[in-house]
Symmetry: C2
Subunit: 332 residues, 2 copies
Amino acid sequence: MVSSKDVAKHAGVSQTTVSRVLNTPEFVKPKTIEKVMKAIEELNYIPNDIARSLVQKKTGIITLISGPLHNPFFVDTTTAIVNYVNSRGYKVNVYFGTEDNLDSIYNAVLETKADAIILSSMLFQDDLFFKLEKRGIPFIMFNRKHQENRHFVEIDNVNAGYIAANHVLSLGHQSICWIGGPHQMSTFDGRYQGFKKAVKNHGIDAKSIPTFITNTNKKDIERAFDELLKLDIRPTAICAATDAIAIEILNLCLERGFQVPKDFNVIGIDNVELSKHHSIALTTVGLTSEENLGFIAIKKLFEVMEKKSTCIQQTESVKLFPRNTTCKNELI
Amino acid sequence: MVSSKDVAKHAGVSQTTVSRVLNTPEFVKPKTIEKVMKAIEELNYIPNDIARSLVQKKTGIITLISGPLHNPFFVDTTTAIVNYVNSRGYKVNVYFGTEDNLDSIYNAVLETKADAIILSSMLFQDDLFFKLEKRGIPFIMFNRKHQENRHFVEIDNVNAGYIAANHVLSLGHQSICWIGGPHQMSTFDGRYQGFKKAVKNHGIDAKSIPTFITNTNKKDIERAFDELLKLDIRPTAICAATDAIAIEILNLCLERGFQVPKDFNVIGIDNVELSKHHSIALTTVGLTSEENLGFIAIKKLFEVMEKKSTCIQQTESVKLFPRNTTCKNELI
DNA sequence: CACCAAAATGGTTACGTATTCATTTCTTTA
DNA sequence: TAAAGAAATGAATACGTAACCATTTTGGTG
């Protein structure tokens, strides 16, 4: 391992000067720069970023705790976040959190020196929030928020749920249902609140509406779908809390020989890139803005790191994206 | 920032002992461990992994240079790689390489102290290969290989191309075409070689077959597809070099009002997770083994890091996965 | 030519840990 | 109880860089 000392010796200058050539060349005589650069070249010297981190107390690393990529939402956000972070000259440590591995991820992350953390895995009540605040590293949540109501960027979940339910109800569907995830996550909770509100607005008793609260892995969604098929009155429209769930429902429908939207209407929330594919063409609710939620969040996080902002509390507006998985209820 | 020295002082021991408590507690008296742990607790001490990296000359970081996630192949490999690396207690620096940003990624990566590198972006002739060997860091390529023929895990690309072409030809399609990427990438080159071989085996002059070599972003694929539609004899089967291309072709077909497989048969290569979705149901060619290619590669990389292996040269066998985007040519 | 300010360079230290080697303390056994 | 060996601890150092402060060199001016 060739160090800046070796370069210094080889160039006949001090290590300090080598450091200056690389960081503040404007304070070094051109001729000296030349000498040092030549030595760097000849010795094939590469600065040790670890040593630099130690002395500067900056790692240039952002930690991302994302959900798994089989959820297309995280495909979009991970892309946006990683690319933005790298374009800013930082590195990204990526973790894909699931129910199983979150604890070990948190342990690893808390023992890692990163300049900031961006995560989506936070629960509404989560000790992690306080651990992070105690740790003193800037952090931001995207998609989900904590009950402390700080450091988050989310979509207007309540309104999204409302718009989704309202859409299918307005299309004449009398018998609808909800498939969502655990309400410890602000996302699912908010969206379901909005869903219920729309249902009530249409004069329907929310309690009469079949509601499936499930984990979001494939198997559990399938289990919920099987339950759904057993209902006495089979719903004509399925409101899914996320596009990921909706797209998996789509898959299950086709697998079982049902047609969408003929047999079932399906609507999601998130307006994921994949939902735009013409083989999917999922009706969904998503950001009014063109920007990706992960992108909005990571930009905000950099603002915090640069002390331009201190506390982020941002809720983005949403709108309907009608596509081919919903249609007027023919039975009317 | 509370350091191990602070803990030492607070516990009334030396810094060395603090270090030992954390790393080799079997050499420390139980009572001393207790004292130190109490101090760690009280001071809320967290070891500085950067300082540790500096002295141990190990960062615990693996660099992953992947392709972009809008390519579903990289969704699968990134998932497999990141999860495996994290399960081994390492961290992953992720980059998504495109035509535009590869140079800056390489610069960043070469200046980053990682314990190893796993990448898919290598060209068949690529200076990067030699730079990496010079750098002396273990590295492995997945999906693509370099002409030096070392450090790679790939699928049997030639056979994959052969199987794909053979499949549609055997279904009675006389007029077929090829859409692939630049041949500087071993993947595209190998697959096209196999495609041509199958064509010849069916007594067709390979030169008569329309061949579109395109960049793999959405716009360029669309451009190729438009060219395809202008052909005098419109092909009934489209062989795509990757599932990513095939799935985008699917999208374009539907967008333009064509039906698959009625108007066009489409076949891909890679057997990407998304291809199994019933809305897509893409016929494709993929690994015989159940394991993901990224998973195979990252396991091999760890073997190299542990000096169990030195040079990886692995080609995995493939087979056909017939689904709904291909069918017998009705015109026969 | 002498002097002074500005420019350029160098010596030393800190960052926080693991490691090496030396020293002290404890345990066992004759 | 003394000696020898084992167990436990500590002091000093290295890792490779940036930063701070001190020193030398340069260039311009009277």
